[in-house]
């Protein structure tokens, strides 16, 4: 009886280990599938195939082509009426753009990019970044509009007692996650991190993203779907710039990126 119990436990352990191993392997190969998916999309674009010359793969042309891609994207961005983002990773700036004019520029303090971006060929970059990317979801620790609700005073006495107080100056630590088309992720984090409260907010923000990834991954695994790899860019900016940027952009903002 005891032997049977031990054997059952062993079987459960081994079975769980194998399942876990398969899950982890499927996560491990996800970047490969992601690249394949992008290559497939690129190769299916007949107009790109027509205008693309194999000489563009030459190393000496790389910076010129990247410059062209970014400017084409900026031009398309300028056709839109709203305020949008232009991220230039070469000169380390994040810009707010409206109708082709940069109205705000923030200098990137720190930058962390995924290894995945290095695996993209110039042809794939042409496909992905020669037009702005649409933001599909945003997660943030700051409010878009710091609205303060006030009831109208009944008389002048009550009005004088309710003298204005700068409630809108109470500021939370600023962290933003922008998820774009093709499932790319841009994380903007504040550069200043002094008090422990700021670190707690940062941890909470990152744990939320980790939990969401885990949930998505488990769901994909259980429904026998391919694991999704999310190429990420992490940008550190001064807090005030993050706040200005987030409050300026619309929900479905567009982003032009120079890699």
């Amino acid at each position: 009886m005891k032997n049977i119990k031990i054997k059952t436990l062993k079987f459960i352990f081994l079975f769980s280990a194998v399942i876990l191993l398969i899950w982890l392997i499927s996560i491990a190969v996800a970047p490969y599938h992601k690249l394949n998916e992008i290559q497939k999309i690129t190769n299916q674009d007949s107009s790109l195939n027509d205008k693309f010359d194999n000489i563009y793969y030459h190393n000496e042309l790389e910076s010129l082509i990247k410059d062209k891609i970014y400017k084409e994207s900026l031009l398309k961005l300028s056709e839109n009426d709203s305020i949008h983002l232009a991220i230039n990773l070469v000169d380390s700036t994040v810009n707010l753009s409206i109708k082709g004019i940069f109205i705000h520029q923030a200098k990137i303090a720190n930058l962390k990019t995924d290894k995945f971006w290095n695996s993209l060929s110039i042809k794939e970059e042409l496909k992905l970044f020669s037009r702005p990317l649409m933001v599909q979801s945003i997660y943030t620790t700051i409010v878009k509009e710091p609205v303060v609700v006030r009831e109208a005073p009944k008389d002048t006495l009550e009005a004088s007692l309710n003298a204005w107080k700068p409630d809108t100056l109470i500021q939370n630590p600023a962290y933003i996650m922008l998820q774009t088309e093709y499932n790319f992720r841009i994380i903007i984090e504040q550069f200043e991190n002094e008090p422990s409260f700021f670190n707690r907010v940062k941890l909470k923000f990152r744990n939320h993203l980790r939990f969401e990834n885990l949930k998505e991954s488990a769901s994909n695994f259980l429904t026998f779907r391919r694991q999704e790899y999310i190429p990420t860019i992490i940008i550190e900016l001064p807090t005030e710039d993050i706040r200005s940027i987030y409050r300026a952009i619309p929900t479905n903002t567009l982003i032009a990126i120079k890699m």
Binding site: F13, L20, L21, L24, I25, I27, A28, V29, P31, Y32, L35, D53, I55, Y56, Y57, H58, N59, E60, L61, L64, D67, K68, K71, E72, L74, L75, S78, D81, S82, I83, I98, G100, I101, I103, H104, K115, F116, S119, S121, E145, P146, V147, V148, V149, R150, A152, P153, D155, T156, E158, A159, W164, P166, T168, L169, E240, R243, S244, R247, A248
Partner: protein, 247 residues
């Protein structure tokens, strides 16, 4: 000569105890070693569980990051492509430059409460201003006003000197006063908007303020307040039709 020592009972008891103990020890040792073998197997499985996916991920990175093509081409061909690309970039630069306003323009950051004035696309002045407070004033269930500065591209629709403020309903409600009729004399107040006002439409103005200490803070009802000196500079620099970008 051999002498017979009396039996040491205490020693015998100790020996007996040690033999009995060692029996137990052996038993314990056997149990531990048996389990250790099993535990080792479990630990090994867990290590493999981590190492195998990590190695696979490593191999994946190595494979995909080394797939960039490199080409050997003739110098002449390369130069001509470079020239073509440079020409295309110049054309794009020209198109982008055409998007910039030809006249002077104003940029307002409503989050930091800062304005920037540009002349010929060069920054000439950057200073504090005040923008909307984001207060939502509620007067019962039916009436409410949101005091925020709108965002986007605007044009100067009109310019006035010594503007007179025609107080809207919310200005009375906010002060706990009864709302007078539409053209009642108490609605008109002069001197509170400064020496100049520039209209952005829908009642939004760029004007001066009596409350200079609040500059740099979000305190207005949606208008943009500047100090006297900056207001004069902006008034003289912008013409009707000049662009104002608010974000």
């Amino acid at each position: 000569m051999k002498t017979n020592k009396p039996l040491n009972l205490k020693l015998l008891k100790n020996i007996h105890n040690s033999i009995t103990l060692s029996k137990y020890n052996r038993l314990i040792f056997y149990t531990i070693s048996r389990h250790t073998k099993q535990y080792n197997l479990y630990i090994l499985s867990l290590v493999l569980l981590i190492l195998i996916p990590l190695s696979i991920r490593g191999i994946v990175w190595m494979t995909i990051t080394n797939n960039n093509k490199t080409l050997q081409v003739e110098e002449i061909q390369l130069t001509s492509v470079k020239q073509m690309l440079t020409k295309e970039i110049l054309m794009l630069d020209k198109k982008l430059a055409n998007k910039k306003p030809k006249s002077n323009y104003l940029v307002i950051n409503s989050s930091s409460n800062i304005f920037r004035l540009y002349k010929n696309n060069e920054l000439v002045k950057e200073d504090k201003c005040s923008t909307g407070s984001y207060i939502l004033l509620k007067n019962g269930e039916d009436q409410q006003w949101m005091f925020k500065t709108p965002k986007g591209e605007f044009k100067i629709l009109g310019k006035t000197t010594s503007p007179v403020w025609k107080k809207p309903d919310w200005a009375f409600i906010e002060e706990g006063l009864p709302v007078p009729s539409l053209n009642h004399h108490s609605r008109y107040e002069s001197g509170v908007l400064g020496d100049y006002a520039l209209s952005l439409g829908n009642g939004y103005l760029i004007h001066g303020t009596l409350y200079q200490r609040f500059l740099g803070l979000p305190v207005t009802h949606g208008c943009i307040r500047l100090n006297d000196e900056n207001l004069e500079l902006v008034y003289r620099s912008l013409t009707t039709g000049s662009r104002v970008y608010i974000y």
